[in-house]
Amino acid sequence: MTNKFNSNKKWDLILESGKIENNYFKDLWLYRELFYILSWRDLKVRYKQTILGATWSIIRPVLTTIIFTIVFSKIAKLQNPGNAPYILMVFAGMLPWQFFSNALSESSGSLIGNSNLITKVYFPRLIVPASSVITSFVDFLISFFILIMMMIIFNFLPNWQIIFLPLFVLMVFLLAFGAGLYLTALNVKYRDFRYIIPFIIQFGLYITPVGFSSNIINEKWKLVYELNPMVGVINGFRWCILGDEISTSSILISLIITAFILIFGFRYFRKMEKTFADNI
């Protein structure tokens, strides 16, 4: 033990006010185990004491998809310009949307939900919202199997574009994470933000092409419509899975906005991080 400590001028950690940032990414790596275990806890707790357990992550998107198909295709008589069955088109949009909305609502409340940890122990706070996005991602993967099943049932084969799907998955992941970081930090500071989040999600569903195809949007409004970053993501999903036509502009705009939200969310989170323990 003596040998180990004899080199007494070498510190393991120097905390200098204002310069703590320097260790941040190293710390994130050091605390990766906590990240795994918090994600695992969230998953485990989520489905404890529910009768149907993880089947909930199947039931919700499937039921919503069926309702949307009936409302938009049968009642509103909308057409799918592509060649996939309407229900497949809805489900291909439902997947990223459900992931985004779940991740957003889970991560935005994550800091408040873990306040006992935040006031008691140190760890890079980024872990908390990140683990709630991961939890929603597991749900996403489960529902993805449903998509594969549906494609088998409808005998629908994806084209070569399917290889780009991981890129769009990453995009929605980063978008949800970035927005989640921003909202959860705001939530600590202003508690009324939690009332805004269900509203954002509900509002988002109307302006996002989940139940309909982007192609039915009037050219005049297209640019405004595409400012919603989920438009590009869902277009991308449909392009990859169903081979629908793609509007490159929507993808580009969506990429830019995602990058912006991610950077902005991350920076805001980092700025607020120091005060979490005092404000929460």
């Binding site: 033990m1 400590f5 007494n8 070498k10 510190w11 393991d12 950690l13 120097i14 905390l15 200098e16 006010s17 703590i20 185990e33 906590l34 275990i37 918090l38 806890r41 485990k44 707790v45 404890k48 004491q49 006992n116 940890l117 935040i118 006031t119 008691k120 122990v121 140190y122 760890f123 202003y190 508690r191 120091k274 323990a277 005092d278 404000n279």
Partner: protein, 398 residues
């Protein structure tokens, strides 16, 4: 301090809170509906000290002296506004046992979860798993959700995980306030074992001078965010107790605590504040309790202490009976009858806590009083510490 520096060549570890470890704390919290009143207040200022490997340092001081802030800065929960801390070795803090326990998860799962939160790796937890279960005595309930645990089992499991941490530096804040006496003894034993035999460094904050003096080999006395004294434990405790004697009443205007003791005054028969009492007088305590939440499920305990901090007498009142939802503060008068205490030095301790052991506020060794004899049969023995209370026993010849 000189002592510490002479040891420098063996320095294994040293925390330097160099020059002005300061902390800004502004009081305009969103919780308060008071008009915006911003006040700059340094919770800690000019705090400088070194800690060497294997030191067991007690940090003492009255409420609001900055003890908890210091620990929070050291354990990186909050960042200091100014100053530097240098550390060698892994640091783990034990600010409350059971941090991060999830009621829905089983004992086994919580061991892994809590271990990870306290900074253990999976391999370390696996290595100590049996020892933890053994220490906590919960083998039979390992696969039961901890929400079904008795509070004793819960605390035992939580402490067991924490006790098997192997950081080079361990920060402990009042964890021993929980559990029954036997378990507390076990915990202290474990902590002594850990620090004395493994050369672990411990920083320990407590109001309990008894535990500080058994566990620590030196102590730091904080007062209003500054270091008043650093030295061996007994000397520091002495300084702390002596400082307590000059204080006549207790006063805390604002606090972020949900419940807190706002004001305490000791009054005599004629309701005049004093700290000198004749044994034939009654002793009155006027206490003001404030709350920042609507809830009022809280109990107040009032204890008479001797100069060592030992409890002479305690009673508990349920505050629910007095506070309605909208009351933000209440005043109470406590009257001790005459001829209760013997001529001696006493002080008081007040705690606001819930049944399950959560402590909202705790002030100790405040409002010291001196009781002098007023012509009783024992007057000739005044000056000799012959006890603390009169039993009013009957003595008859048979």
């Amino acid at each position: 301090m000189i002592n510490h520096e002479s040891k420098q060549k063996y320095t294994a570890l040293r925390d330097i809170i160099a020059d002005k470890a300061k902390k800004i704390f502004s009081f305009h919290n969103w919780k308060f509906s008071e008009p915006k009143k911003s006040e700059v207040f340094w919770a800690l200022k000019d705090v400088n000290f070194d800690v060497h490997q294997g030191d067991r340092i007690g940090i003492i001081g009255r409420n609001g002296a900055g003890k908890s802030t210091l620990l929070k800065i050291l354990s990186r929960i909050t960042e200091s506004t100014e100053g530097t801390i240098k550390l060698k070795g892994r640091i783990a803090s034990l600010l409350e046992v059971g941090t991060g326990f999830h009621p829905e998860l089983t004992g086994r799962e919580n061991i892994y979860l809590n271990g990870a939160i306290l900074g253990m790796t999976r391999t370390e937890i696996n290595k100590h798993f049996d020892a933890i279960v053994d220490f906590a005595e919960v083998e039979k309930f390992l696969d039961t959700p901890v929400k079904r645990y008795s509070s004793g089992m819960y605390v035992r499991l939580a402490f067991a995980v924490a006790a098997h941490l192997e950081p080079e530096i361990l920060i402990i804040d009042e964890v021993l306030a929980v559990g029954d006496a036997a378990f507390q003894k076990k915990c202290i034993g474990k902590m002594e074992d850990v620090s004395k035999n493994d050369g672990r460094t411990i920083l320990f904050v407590s109001h309990n001078m008894g535990i500080v003096s058994t566990l620590c080999n030196s102590a730091i006395l904080l007062n209003k965010g500054k270091i008043d004294f650093i030295g061996n434990t007994n000397e520091t405790i002495e300084k702390y107790l002596r400082a307590a004697e000059v204080q006549k009443s207790y006063y805390a205007e604002t606090s972020v605590k949900d419940f807190f003791i706002s004001q305490v005054e000791v009054l005599n028969n004629d309701n005049i504040p004093t700290n000198n009492f004749k044994s034939s007088e009654c002793i009155k305590l006027k206490i003001k309790i404030r709350k920042n939440i609507t809830d009022s499920i809280v109990r107040l305990s009032v204890t008479i202490q001797n100069t060592n901090g030992d409890f002479i007498n305690t009673f508990v009142e349920n505050m629910e009976d007095y506070f309605s939802k909208n009351d933000s503060s209440k005043e109470f008068l406590i009257t001790y009858p005459p001829n209760l205490l013997t001529p001696n030095h006493f002080s008081f301790r007040f705690a606001l806590f819930t049944q399950n052991g959560h402590v909202f506020d705790l002030v100790e060794m405040i409002c010291p009083i001196i009781v002098v004899d007023h012509g009783s049969k024992m007057a000739i023995y005044e000056g000799i510490n012959y006890g603390y209370f009169n039993a009013n026993q009957k003595f008859i010849e048979l």
